[in-house]
């Protein structure tokens, strides 16, 4: 098999996931937040594929799963962008912390 151990990949995925998370937490620009979410989803993909190749019970299902997540994530990002554009037209802002029209 390959010489790269599984947990190196798991680590990589985790690092990506956390960077994404950090971005989603701190970034005020909605676009960057969306990008951060993409990062998190990429991390999931690495996990799935790594497991599919190196896991306890390797099987190709992981790759299939990844195919679905990639596509669906893209659709989600597209919808989010479209919503953002609609919002921008109405509010002229993409800053996330200015979205506080509703409170209490």
């Amino acid at each position: 098999m390959t010489s790269v151990p599984l947990n190196a990949y798991l680590m990589l995925a985790l690092i990506l996931f956390c960077i994404g998370l950090f971005g989603a937490l701190t970034k005020r620009n909605t676009v960057i937040v969306l990008i951060s979410i993409e990062l998190m989803l990429n991390a999931v993909n690495i996990n799935l594929v790594a497991f599919s190749k190196l896991g306890m019970h390797p099987s190709i299902t992981g790759q299939v799963f990844t195919l679905f997540t990639i596509t669906v994530a893209a659709a989600e990002a597209a919808v989010a962008l479209a919503i953002l554009m609609a919002l921008f037209r109405n509010r002229s802002t993409v800053q996330i912390d200015e979205m506080d029209g509703m409170k209490h």
């Binding site: 996931f17 790594a50 599919s52 299902t61 679905f68 989010a80 609609a86 919002l87 509703m102």
Partner: protein, 503 residues
């Protein structure tokens, strides 16, 4: 695969899904080619009819043997039939409210509105019937994406857009978290089939991979709690409910929440009860329940306390729906014999009382052009019948006897106390928070009966909302006074333990 194999599948068990799929596709194509000046009001009744047809065809399946097709990705058992019935019925009522709502709103894409609802419903139904993580995930996303768009469908309203944006971002994060949990489940077992996963994980010896299993449970639970709007993923609900159009809010708070419970039950119960827990004599499911019960307790407390100070009725109902999700987690924690029954019954009661209340809310909000609570002032003088209906719903939500809500709560209480170990702490939390909830439910009644109205104009009754209110009043009272009928139906036709067979 040749055509023979294809035809050999018992496709009829997917009949309800096909009906919805065909209706959604048909409506979307018609919408595309129909000139924009043609009124699309008829779409509402068509989709309602489709949902009704699907419901009927689903009910004919009641009592059938559990079956799996399509390489065990699609599964029809008592659990899926009974909970799909809730989804379909809830959507039917939401569609009825929609017909009234759209008649008076600024939504331009009326065609889109209906097929998005149908698509979301389809996603939820697939979740109910899936026995595979991938199917589950795709169903979840279908529901989620359609809901994002529905939330933001009032394109010219900044509130609606903002709600949609927040929903999409929160939803995106939740999806990532859920998937992360799923990826561990897959990694531990090498399969995405729920039955295989359960088998493989149970086969792991107690100390091998335990950490990952627990992490998978927690992360998946956190991700799924987004759909349920329970702690820790509940904060989105008030903003999004407030910003979205009322029927969408109804859909999110009833159908989408039901779907959340379905996926929670399906994933958690299929996989974890057979896995060895921390102590030798308990399952992992029981071992981690302490955390779920903390989440349930916090959900009830936060939902009910925060609802107290809301002046916006939609926000108030958002918090109340968070609280109800907390109540619904109690049977899940208790894991007793009555778990499915209590959850199903409470969800049914919740469909009736919450959708009924929201239909009344729709009438009030569109009369006043505002969602402020003072819109209820003096309702009794303006329309006694509407007031009595709303009173019934409120009493039921508060859990006063004689109504469906009480019977649901009673079931949950008894189930949790009978459970082993008895969950009396959780039950006490539920009792105390119920008292807190009286304050805000009764303050609405105080407004309706005991404050002077601002105007004395007559209230008009739009047909769709009226129909919903009538159905819901009947349901709330019947379930409250004769719960025996519904329970008997459930026991006669459904044998929930078949969820665990055939894998």
């Amino acid at each position: 695969m040749d055509i023979g194999t294809l035809l050999s599948y018992p496709w009829e068990i997917m009949m309800p899904e096909f009906i919805i799929l065909i209706a959604a596709t048909g409506l979307s194509l018609t919408d595309l080619f129909l000139p924009s000046r043609v009124n699309r009001r008829i779409f509402g009744w068509i989709s309602a009819a489709a949902v009704l047809a699907a419901l009927i065809s689903l009910l004919t399946q009641a009592g059938s043997e559990p079956a799996q097709i399509l390489h065990n990705t699609y599964r029809l058992d008592s659990f899926s039939i009974s909970f799909k019935a809730l989804l379909l019925f809830g959507t039917l009522l939401v569609l009825l409210i929609s017909t009234s709502y759209l008649a008076r709103s600024d939504v331009e894409e009326q065609g889109e509105w209906y097929y998005l609802f149908l698509a979301a419903l389809l996603g939820a139904m697939m979740m109910a019937s899936s026995a595979d993580l991938i199917t589950l995930f795709v169903g979840l996303e279908l529901l989620a994406i359609a809901s994002y768009i529905l939330t933001g469908i009032r394109k010219k309203s900044a509130e609606s857009n903002e709600a949609a944006m927040k929903y999409a971002i929160n939803g995106g994060i939740a999806t990532a978290v859920t998937l992360f949990g799923f990826s561990y489940l897959y990694g531990l077992s090498g399969s995405t089939n729920l039955g295989d996963i359960s088998r493989e994980i149970s086969a792991l010896s107690a100390d091998h991979g335990h950490a990952l299993t627990v992490a998978a449970f927690i992360i998946t639970f956190v991700g799924l709690s987004f759909k349920l709007a329970t702690v820790p993923f509940h904060m989105w609900a008030p903003d999004i409910y407030q910003g979205s159009p009322l029927p969408v809010m109804a859909f999110l708070s009833v159908v989408s929440k039901t779907a959340g419970f379905i996926i929670l039950f399906r994933v958690m119960l299929s996989i974890f009860p057979t896995v060895q827990g921390f102590q030798p004599d308990e399952s992992l499911y029981q071992s981690v329940m302490i955390f779920v019960s903390i989440a349930a307790g916090l959900t009830m407390i936060i939902g009910n306390i925060l609802a107290l100070r809301q002046n916006n009725i939609k926000r108030l109902f958002a918090y109340s729906s968070i609280a109800h999700a907390g109540y619904l987690l109690v049977p899940f924690v208790a894991f007793s014999q009555m778990m499915f029954e209590s959850t199903w019954f409470y969800l049914l009661a919740y469909v009736f009382m919450n959708l009924g209340a929201l239909a009344v809310l729709h009438i009030i909000i569109s009369e006043n052009q505002s969602a402020h609570i003072s819109g209820f002032a003096g309702l009794y003088q303006r329309s006694p019948v509407l007031t009595v209906c709303m009173t019934i719903f409120l009493l039921s939500l508060a859990g006063i006897p004689g109504t469906a809500g009480f019977m649901g709560k009673l079931h949950i209480f008894i189930g949790a106390l009978f459970a082993d170990p008895s969950r009396y702490v959780l039950v006490s939390v539920m009792l105390v928070t119920t008292v807190v909830s009286y304050i805000y439910y009764f303050s609405i009644m105080l407004h309706m009966y005991m404050r002077p109205p601002k105007r004395y104009t007559k209230i008009t009754w739009p047909i769709g909302a009226t129909l919903t209110i009538a159905l819901c009043v009947a349901g709330t009272l019947l379930l409250g006074i004769f719960p025996g009928a519904a329970l008997q139906f459930l026991q006669e036709y459904f044998w929930f333990n078949d969820m665990f067979t055939l894998n």
